[in-house]
Structures are given as structure tokens and as C-alpha cells.
């Protein structure tokens, strides 16, 4: 366990603290997650006339989960116009014990000429270029866990989701920035399907 942790730390240090080239970015965001959940319906119709049974059908109910959530995102493998990212979101405040947990990986395509901080150091000379205002779109996929309430019960489900997102970062100083992002995704779970909308705002930090 300790060896694995040491390896993970070493991997992050080597990959994150490169100091030159395009810089990775982490962001801490707070925002709203809204997931509309619809339970899968099933119906089995009796076609064998020799057997006398009634049709079986399971009627699904629908629900919506809204939560104020925290999202941590890490952009790695950053290039001038492209970055890959991974993000985690957990609910902070939600109604009646409901909530959405999620973990995704994806990419962001920057729409302006330079999408990440770039630095170059040689013989004591440094060149740093920071995009003042950058905006992007991208796609992501991941997995999640939802807890929702129906009229009569509290239920939960795990799901996969695929979605698109768009956002912007306004840089303030060498490292910090203000980030806003909106995302929409389609979720497909074991017992449910749904549409998830995310709206997050927070701070970004160049590593």
C-alpha cells in the first residue's frame, strides 16, 4: 500500500512539476448539479393463449436530483489547444439525502490561440506566456452514483455518462484564474436513465 502511494506521489511530482513547457492546471469549483432520473420501465405481454396469466409490467417513476456540489478537476497532458482532464464531483448540499457523485475523464479543446500557460527557462532567461482569457469546449465520459427519492422510496443507482461541456477561464496573475463551466450529459444506469446538467464556478491554478 505504502509502495503504491509512494509510486503515485512520484508519478504526480514527475508529471506535474515539470516547470517548463505547457503547464497543467487544477481547479476547485462549486456549482449546481441537476440530474433528471427516469426509471426503466418493462412490460411483458402474454402471447401463449393456452396459459391463463395476467400481463406483468413494472411502471417506472421519475425523479430529479439537485445538489450544490464541489468539483475537483485536474488538466494533464496539456498542449496549446488541447488538454486532457479528469474530474471528481461530490455533493455538498442537497435535499432529503439525495445526491450525485461522479468521476469523469475527457478532453478540452481551446478556441483561442493559446490554451495553457507556457513557460521556457534557459540560462537564467525566462519567458512566460499566460492566456488572459480562454474559452473551450470538450467531451467527457465517466461513471457516477445517484441517490434519488421517488414518491414512496429512496433509491440509488450507478450509471455511466457521456457528455459535452464548455467554459472559460479568466487569468488573474501568474497562476490563479476564475473558471466557469457548463456541462450536459446523458446518463445510463442499471435501473435508470437521465439527463445531467452541471454549472460550476471556481478557481483554477496552474501547476
Amino acid at each position: 500500500m505504502l509502495k503504491a502511494l509512494t509510486f503515485l506521489m512520484a508519478f504526480i511530482i514527475v508529471n506535474v512539476c515539470s516547470g517548463q513547457g505547457y503547464h497543467d492546471m487544477i481547479s476547485y469549483n462549486v456549482g449546481m448539479v441537476n440530474l433528471t432520473v427516469a426509471e426503466n420501465e418493462s412490460s411483458i405481454k402474454q402471447t401463449d393463449t393456452s396459459v391463463t396469466t395476467t400481463d406483468t409490467a413494472t411502471k417506472g417513476s421519475s425523479s430529479a436530483v439537485s445538489a450544490i456540489s464541489f468539483q475537483l478537476s485536474w488538466e494533464f497532458k496539456t498542449y496549446s489547444k488541447l488538454a486532457y482532464f479528469t474530474k471528481l464531483s461530490v455533493p455538498l448540499m442537497s435535499g432529503q439525502g439525495t445526491g450525485v457523485f461522479g468521476g469523469d475523464v475527457g478532453f478540452s479543446m481551446y478556441l483561442n490561440p493559446l490554451g495553457a500557460k507556457y513557460s521556457y527557462v534557459q540560462n537564467g532567461t525566462t519567458l512566460v506566456i499566460i492566456p488572459k482569457f480562454k474559452y473551450y469546449w470538450g467531451a467527457f465520459g465517466g461513471t457516477g452514483y445517484v441517490v434519488y427519492n421517488t414518491e414512496s422510496a429512496r433509491k440509488s443507482d450507478v450509471f455511466f455518462n457521456l457528455g459535452v461541456h464548455g467554459g472559460m477561464v479568466y487569468s488573474m496573475g501568474d497562476r490563479w484564474g476564475f473558471k466557469a463551466e457548463i456541462a450536459a450529459s446523458r446518463t445510463t444506469g442499471v435501473a435508470t436513465t437521465g439527463i445531467m446538467m452541471n454549472l460550476f464556478m471556481g478557481a483554477s491554478y496552474y501547476l
Partner: protein, 199 residues
């Protein structure tokens, strides 16, 4: 009133979203020039430390995508860099200017001579160990100067380490065949140990 408000809002957003160019240098107070790639026209921007809106740079030198910046101060080699002025980016340059080659050479000679005098003083005080340490440092910095190896040979000889002394004198003579003192000592030690010049 409404128009002034719109103009104010637009100028504020241009300032807020517009990038800046910041140039610092070591040493400071260097002249900054921009050179047009197409025409070769050189324009003086000012002196370091310098800070200006990127929009101002675009309007004064044109929005050609890339601009060459030259930072210069007498006594130092000119520093040149091509920077992109596309989009609204903050660009920060901290240029470390190298001392001109002639001055650098003079400074190096000065260091070598003063350090060799230090070594001589240590030899007179029979402080061979520190003398050798200093010569090791000089060997790293000036690996092609035969005088350093000759002095190492002398220190080794005075420490009665004759075989090592011979190696140093051979190396000194190998680097500079005009080093007569190294040659004289090499021949003397080879005779003393009855060694051929090739062995």
C-alpha cells in the same frame, strides 16, 4: 451619457481582457527594440523594466503574429527573442544578458591568474592539500590550460608523489608542447624513473 457609459464599459473590458507585455532584464536599464520581420525596421520601445498593454504593441508595430524583441546594453551580448502577439496573452520576459565574450575572457583570465597566485602562496606555506583542491576547481573550469596541470605536477612533486607528478607534467606537455617547464620536468622524472617517453 449612455454613449459615454458604453465607451467606458468597452475600454474597461479591453483593459481587463487585454494582455500585457512585461520585460525585465538582468542587468536592468537595458534598451528594448522591436524588429519587424518583413522590413527589418528597428523601433525603440524603451528601457527595462518595461510594461505595456499588448494592444499598444500591436498598434505600434502591427499585428503580424510574431515580433522579434532585442534587448541590449553596452558590454553585454544582445539578447534576441521572437514572441507571439496573437490573442490576448500576458507575456513576461526576464532576460539574462551574457557579458560580452571579450569581457568574459578577460574576467576568466583574471580569475585564473589570481587563483594560480593563491595556489603559489599555499605551496609556499606547504598547504598542498588545499592547493590541490583549488587546482582541481581550476581544472574543471579551464581544462585546456597546461599551466593548471603543470602546477598540479609541481604540487605532486613536492608531496614526493613522483609518478603522479610525471603524469601531470605529461598531460601539461600534451596539451601545450610549448610549455618548456612541463617538458623539462617530464624529461627529468622520466630519467629519474628510467621510463621511456611513451610509457
Amino acid at each position: 451619457m449612455r454613449n459615454s457609459l458604453i465607451v467606458l464599459l468597452f475600454s474597461y473590458s479591453a483593459m481587463a481582457f487585454g494582455g500585457q507585455l512585461m520585460i525585465e532584464s538582468n542587468p536592468s536599464d537595458c534598451e528594448i527594440f522591436t524588429i519587424d520581420f518583413k522590413t527589418g525596421k528597428k523601433s525603440n520601445l524603451g528601457k527595462t523594466p518595461y510594461k505595456a498593454e499588448l494592444e499598444f504593441l500591436k498598434s505600434s508595430i502591427g499585428d503580424n503574429g510574431i515580433v522579434q524583441v532585442e534587448i541590449h546594453k553596452p558590454g553585454f551580448d544582445a539578447f534576441n527573442i521572437a514572441i507571439p502577439v496573437i490573442g490576448n496573452n500576458d507575456i513576461k520576459i526576464n532576460a539574462n544578458l551574457e557579458v560580452e565574450q571579450d569581457i568574459k575572457l578577460t574576467q576568466d583570465f583574471d580569475l585564473l591568474v589570481s587563483d594560480l597566485f593563491d595556489v603559489l602562496r599555499m605551496i609556499r606555506m606547504k598547504d598542498y592539500q588545499n592547493g590541490m583542491k583549488k587546482l582541481d576547481l581550476l581544472e574543471n573550469k579551464f581544462p585546456h590550460y597546461s599551466i593548471v596541470y603543470e602546477m598540479k605536477g609541481t604540487v605532486s612533486y613536492l608531496q614526493m608523489n613522483f609518478k603522479q607528478a610525471l603524469n601531470y607534467y605529461r598531460k601539461a606537455f600534451g596539451i601545450n608542447p610549448k610549455n618548456r617547464e612541463a617538458y623539462r620536468m617530464k624529461v627529468y622524472l622520466e630519467k629519474k624513473f628510467k621510463l621511456g617517453s611513451e610509457s
